[in-house]
């Protein structure tokens, strides 16, 4: 655990002296399946964006552009909510 601070160097009470720091907590390593986007099929309805429990759907100018794989845990909710007629997201096993 090199680079970590000792008990005298950190704020008391487990407080972190900044807000929104969950961004620094990389959870992508938990994934066993990763979402893969078929850009041809996507209709940019953004149902996946509103459903993702980890805000891992990346959107630019109201268009779905892909996944934040540093935080995506591979739960598959995005693929599940993607409309049946569209099916732009498929879950692929990691390492295959």
């Amino acid at each position: 655990m090199s680079g970590l601070k000792n008990w005298k160097e950190i704020p008391t009470g487990g407080v972190i002296e900044e807000a929104g720091n969950a961004d620094n907590y990389v959870t992508g390593g938990w994934r066993t399946y990763k979402p893969v986007l078929d850009e041809q099929k996507c209709i940019h309805c953004l149902v996946c964006w509103i459903s993702c429990p980890d805000t891992a759907i990346e959107v630019k100018d109201e268009k779905m552009t892909g996944f934040n794989l540093k935080h995506c845990k591979g739960c598959g909710v995005c693929a599940d909510v993607c409309p049946k007629k569209v099916q732009a997201i498929t879950m692929v096993q990691e390492g295959k």
Binding site: I10, P11, G13, G14, V15, I16, E18, A19, G20, N21
Partner: protein, 393 residues
Amino acid sequence: MGQKVAMTGNIAVANAMRQINPDVCAAYPITPSTEIMQQFSSFVSDGEVKTVLVPAESEHSAMSACIGAAAAGGRVMTATSSQGLALMWEMLYIAAGNRLPIVLAMANRALSAPINIHGDTSDAMGARDSGWIQLFSENAQEAYDNVIQAIRIAENMEVRLPVMVGMDGFIISHSIESMELLDDQVVRDFIGEYIPNRPLLDVDNPMTYGPLDLQDYYIEHKRQEYEAMKKAKPVILQVAKEFARISGRKYGLFEEYHLDGAEVAIVVLNSAAGTVKTVIDDLRGKGVKAGLLKPRVFRPFPADEIAQALSGVKAVCVMDRADGVNGLSGPLFPEFRSALYDAKQRPLMINKIFGLGGRDLGLQHVRDVFQELLKISETGKIKTLAEYMTVRN
């Protein structure tokens, strides 16, 4: 100067709270501490304090609200007893771990089952490892004085730990005693303005409270808590010194009553110490070298000072008004005996579990204990290491 009054322990504590004027009090009523918040809520309604009173739906919620208010940056107080403290248990650790200087007045009462509303220290002993500083009080005056000092101890920047102040349920909480209330302004000057540490309501400096803390940092935060508890000891003594200047009443880590040069001694918390003192006065008149050590501070545990005070006493009885139900002794006994392990002149030690559920401790009971100690001192032999007393056999 102060004002001589006749008050119950509960009303005395409620008056300390009035003078402290905390930002928030969240509480749920439970016998025998109910009267504290009942009286205090009158002070709120009458506009004598500016406190926001939060009547919660349980003690778990009351302590949760206290934690939220303290994290937000408020000076926070509450009161409870027995099952109420037990229901707070989970949140007590969070208050301490988050280093929130909440002050809790505790009218000590037995724990169920069987259900009982009277005085013993089972409730406090259940919270002894929660990271809270624990102060105990023999009478209404001490409860009042301890609550005022608790504010300064908890809020000291080196400490920043919550403090609970105990007094015996009914025996002290509901008995009217003669005591002195300090002037409101004197108390306010003594406690000073509250300076919150990293308050959540400081919107210019947003903070994260209560994040996940795994193998990489949890033990560092616990190490900080350990340090804070260690530092609390000198702070408690310093606050007591300053308190003596405004009140004329002296407090330490414990009270020694005829302990200097004593041959036999009793260790006992809270109101039972008064009964023991009466017996000691009587015995001293007859030339028996009997003494008392009455712990005021149980957390932090002042092991070195205790060892010094009891070293050289021939026989000591630690009297527990609670049973640890470990099949051996009450909860004070192992800690006091351990404190004496390295003493130069280690006394022989026994333990009595007494007075559970408010069972009276009479003068004869205490005389019997001293008789047993004198016999141990004379023969060097202990017959029974630990046992119940004030019980029908």
